[in-house]
Subunit: 218 residues, 2 copies
């Protein structure tokens, strides 16, 4: 067990927040959570500090920490940035990508198709992650790769939601293949545009889904 207790707690809490297990604005009681994890307040506070830096919770001095779920506006903004970041990856990758990586992307796409035909949504989702991970890596800029992964991770629960829309998976697949084609032809602009559109549509689909859910609830 190389890592310490406080790291494990931070990871667990991060997962819980991303899963939406906490309401927006809910206060995270230190002693309560300490009991729950069966530790003292010290490691728990260290975990909360980390979450605060990541932006998952807001820490108001002498008041406590409160979970901070992104609202619709912030989500749209985050998806927009994600689209732009991935577009940059594509533009850079178009000139830097290796043949092996292209082959990897094709293989990831093939696995996606297999999962699609098997109605295996989870499997599709996993392979889809892999596809994007390769794109990040092939930007040839490991700092950019890191930043992409960070934002990707933060958007995970929301991205997942919109994949449930009928027909979205099949469309997403076609976009993936078009992206690989553009990369193969080293067409930087085309690749960037296609990736941007691919991610943007995720954000838009999500937004409409939210809207329909909200109006349905009223």
């Amino acid at each position: 067990m190389g890592q310490k207790r406080s790291d494990a707690i931070a990871d667990t809490l991060e997962g819980l927040i991303l899963d939406g297990s906490f309401e927006d604005g809910q206060r995270l009681d230190e002693v309560q959570l300490a009991e729950r994890f069966e530790v003292s307040r010290t490691p728990l506070r260290e975990a909360l500090q980390r979450l605060a830096v990541s932006g998952l919770v807001e820490q108001i001095p002498r008041r406590g920490v409160f979970v901070r779920q992104p609202g619709p506006v912030e989500l749209v903004e985050m998806f927009e940035v994600m689209a732009e970041l991935e577009a940059v990856c594509a533009r850079l990758a178009a000139e830097r990508i290796t043949d092996e990586a292209l082959e990897e992307m094709r293989r990831a796409n093939a696995s996606c198709r297999k999962a699609l035909e098997a109605q295996n949504t989870d499997g599709y989702y996993r392979e889809n992650e892999g596809f994007h991970a390769i794109l990040y890596r092939q930007s040839g800029n490991s700092f950019l790769e890191q930043e992409c992964r960070r934002l990707h991770r933060r958007l995970t629960p929301f991205r997942r939601l919109q994949l449930r829309l009928r027909g979205r998976i099949r469309q997403s697949m076609a976009e993936h293949e078009a992206i690989v084609d553009a990369l193969e032809h080293s067409d930087a602009t085309l690749a960037a545009d296609r990736v941007r559109a691919h991610v943007s549509v995720q954000g838009e689909k999500f937004f409409h889904l939210m809207r329909s859910l909200k109006t349905a609830a009223e």
Copy 2:
């Protein structure tokens, strides 16, 4: 005194690391720093946790925390990402920017020119920051704005270095004005390209400066 002691420590340490007051790989001794700041280890550890998440220090469990200065490769990567992020800001801003903001940018530029003529490097630097801050804001995407500010802050000491190059400031000013022109004409592509080039050249200048310093030292 709204903030707590540990926040102030984190800020101070962040500043010290960004200033290059610590060697790369240097271990930060908890008790030693605690004495220095005249606090106990508890708030100091919380501060270190935060720095670790920000990536300014690396925390190896049961071993300690070590400052992590970006190497030349990482710096080039960071400048590349900064250039792309600001280019995105420009592209979005070209369609979203308000007339008042355009006026603000022109005013910031005028102040820059005044500082330039007064040989006031610090003043120029401050106004230059303002110019970029307006650009971020005018992307109309506050999440993007935040991310830009974060990276900008991290690159501050290195950016500052390259401004000392002869003639760079005057050239930088001209680029600023060309950027405002493109924004005024709502030419998204041109604005993006000019901003990207403007920031990229900073990275390149910095890289060459580093190289010359390194070869001179050998």
